[in-house]
Structures are given as C-alpha cells and as structure tokens.
C-alpha cells in the first residue's frame, strides 16, 4: 500500500463527502443567507477536493483523474471519517458537524502547511484560509443556536450527543499516519487532540452545551474497513450521472 496515496485520499474524501453533504442544503436552507453560506462552504470543500484528489491521482500514477476518484470508486474505497457521511438531519446538526470538523481542520491544515511535501504544504495553506473562515461561522452559529431558545439548545445538544462518538475517528494513529509522520509529511492526527479539545471546550461553554462524557469512538471510515450504511446512498446520488453515462463531460 502506498501510504502517501492513502493519506491524500483521506484528505480529499473528507472534503468531498462533507462538501457533498453540505451541498444537499442548496435551495432548501432555513434562510436565504444560510443557503448562500452553505453553498459557498460546499464550493470551498469541493475545490479543496479537486486539489487533494488531483494530487492523489498523480501519486497513484495509474492514469486516473480527480474525477475518476470521486465518481468511480465504491463505498469501501472511500477514506473519509464516518462523521462526515452521516445524513445532515436538521440545520443544527449540520452546523455542529461543520464546527467539530472545522475545529480539527484549522490546527491540522496549519500543521500540514509546514509539510516536507511541497504539494501537501501548498494545498494545506490554500485550504487553511477557507477553513479558518468556516470555523468562524460554524463556531458563531453553534453559540447562537446553543445559547438561543430552549428548543434550539435542545436540538444542538442532541446534535452534539449524536455526533460525539463519531468525532474521535478524526484523531487517528494507524500505520499510514505513522508513515506520514516518519516522512515529515504530516504529524499523526492524534496529536491534534489537545488543541481541538480546547477549542471545543471554549465554544461549547459559550453555547451553554455540555460535552458528552463518553470517549467511545466509532472507526472504519478513514481506513475504509467499515462505513455506515449512509455512504452508499449518498454515492448513489452523487455518482449517478457518471454511472449512467460513463465519460459524460460538461
């Protein structure tokens, strides 16, 4: 197994799967401004996907493109964290997930900006500006809704309780993570935990939400061993055009 290819798939698939989920709000968000914000967030994530998967395809060297990787792989070839593939549910859960992810991405991409791999560093530095902007919005929204009405507080707490067991997967430490650290490409994701904890603590406390007291973490998305049943349904929608009309171009 090529660890760099595997590592790049993880970055690209995280951006792609969350980007697609976020785009599902296009046209149906609770307010016009939120609709535009969600669509723009999705656009940033899809843009980042093109960079990560484009590089992954080059590293793989089998003549595949970023589009081939996005549209012609099956569930078990995907390397995204499980938290990003579960359905959006309500607006609160969508923004809570965005926040949990952004709070990871900002320190993560900051670290990757110093990668020994110039391409990784370049993509990370570009994505970091967008992630920083996303975090500003997602953390503010989590606070506004958590510290809002009784109902919005309850729904944000429900969202947090639901997503929490999925968040732990972001802090992996497997053979690929280790190989990337040894090569100076990236620190192991597990080393991001304390910075993430601090950000989460601050925001949740301002949002009047309580951090669930379980350390159980689902896994299987980042290594492709066990995705949720939701990813297949998502891919069926996302990939339908390329599956029905192979090679179709815009």
């Amino acid at each position: 197994m090529d660890h760099l290819f595997e590592f790049l798939l993880r970055q690209g698939d995280n951006a792609l799967v969350l980007g697609h989920r976020t785009s599902e709000w296009c046209g149906v968000a609770p307010a016009l401004e939120e609709d535009i914000a969600l669509a723009n967030t999705a656009l940033d994530l899809i843009g980042q996907t093109q960079l990560w998967l484009g590089y992954a395809a080059e590293v793989e060297g089998k003549g595949r493109s970023a589009n081939d990787l996005a549209y012609l792989r099956d569930v078990y070839d995907f390397r995204n964290a499980l938290m990003l593939e579960v359905p959006n549910n309500d607006f609160g859960r969508t923004l809570m997930r965005q926040f949990l992810f952004d709070a990871f991405q900002v320190p993560w991409l900051t670290a990757l900006s110093a990668s020994s791999d110039e391409r990784v560093a370049g993509i990370a530095a570009k994505s970091l500006k967008e992630a920083t902007y996303h975090l500003e919005r997602s953390s503010e929204t989590v606070i506004a809704l958590g510290d809002g009405t009784d109902e919005s507080n309850r729904r944000m707490q429900d969202a947090l309780d639901y997503l929490w067991p999925y968040a732990g997967e972001l802090f992996g430490q497997d053979a690929t993570d280790q190989a990337m650290q040894d090569a100076g490409v990236a620190p192991v994701p597990a080393s991001m935990r304390s910075v993430w904890d601090t950000q989460i603590e601050q925001t949740l406390s301002a949002a009047c939400l309580s951090r669930p007291d379980t350390s159980f973490a689902h896994s299987g998305g980042c290594n492709g061993s066990r995705h949720t049943e939701h990813l297949g349904h998502m891919l069926a929608v996302m990939q339908t055009l390329q599956r029905s009309y192979p090679g179709a171009v815009w």
């Binding site: 401004e33 939120e34 535009i36 914000a37 669509a39 723009n40 967030t41 656009l43 940033d44 994530l45 899809i46 843009g47 980042q48 093109q50 960079l51 110039e118 560093a121 370049g122 993509i123 530095a125 570009k126 994505s127 970091l128 500006k129 967008e130 902007y133 500003e136 919005r137």
Partner: protein, 156 residues
Amino acid sequence: MTAVSDISEAQIWTYLESVPDPEIPVISIVDLGVVRSVEITGKSVEVTITPTYSGCPAMAVIAMDIETGLAKHGITDVHLKTQIAPPWTTDWLSEKGLARLADYGIAAPQKAGGPACCPRCQSKAVERVSQFGSTPCKAQWRCTDCLEPFDYFKCI
C-alpha cells in the same frame, strides 16, 4: 498578425489589464491579483494564474478569457499554468482595483474583518447580514443609516 517574438512581457501585462473579472467586471484580472506571472519562451506565452478560492467557478472563465483576450492581439500560442502556492490574498488587489470596487458599491477588504464604511453614504454604522455573498469572495453587509445592503470583499 504580430509575431510573439516582437512582443514584450510588459505588453502582455497591458493586454491582460483589459481582461475583466467575469464576476466583478469593473476590475481586471490583473487588479484582482490572480495573474502571478507572464513569461515568453520562444514563440509561446506562459501565463500563471492562481485561484482566489479553491472552488471558485470563475477560474475556468478567467482562463478562457485570457486565451481569447490574447488571441485578439494575435497571440494564440498561450499556455496557462495554475499555481496555488503562495495562496491568493486580498493584499494582491491593486490600488486601482480597490478604488473601482468602492465606486461599484463593493466595500474594500479590511484587516479588521469588516467594511470601513457604507460604500453608498460613507456611514460607519454598518452591520453584517451574512458571512457569505453572491460570489465566494464577498460577504453581505447592510448600512443602518441609509438602510442599503451592500457587498463586502472578504479579507483573506
């Protein structure tokens, strides 16, 4: 038809100055800071561009507009190169570009994270409507004096 060998890089920059940004046509792609370099090698011209946002859909149009813009001057052997590092920043907007944005009703980016004043009445009483706007590079603000909503160019 002009031979590329008779044209200087400075001349190419001048031609690119007249290629408008497809989404904010009052400024050129040079004013926007997305043209990073121009290099003439033999008979061909290489133009290096950088995306504003990684998913900005205008980039494909910008690439096409550069090709057609240069073709108007007889330059057809054009190679476009995309470069993402260092990442685009609003610091690369030109002075001329900033002034034109303001005239057009788009508040210029500020390090403080919000517009200095309403581009219509110059009032400092402004509030944010949304962190995002009609294009990836803008946010929605509103003036609480003249009550007009306006675009603010996000500072990144």
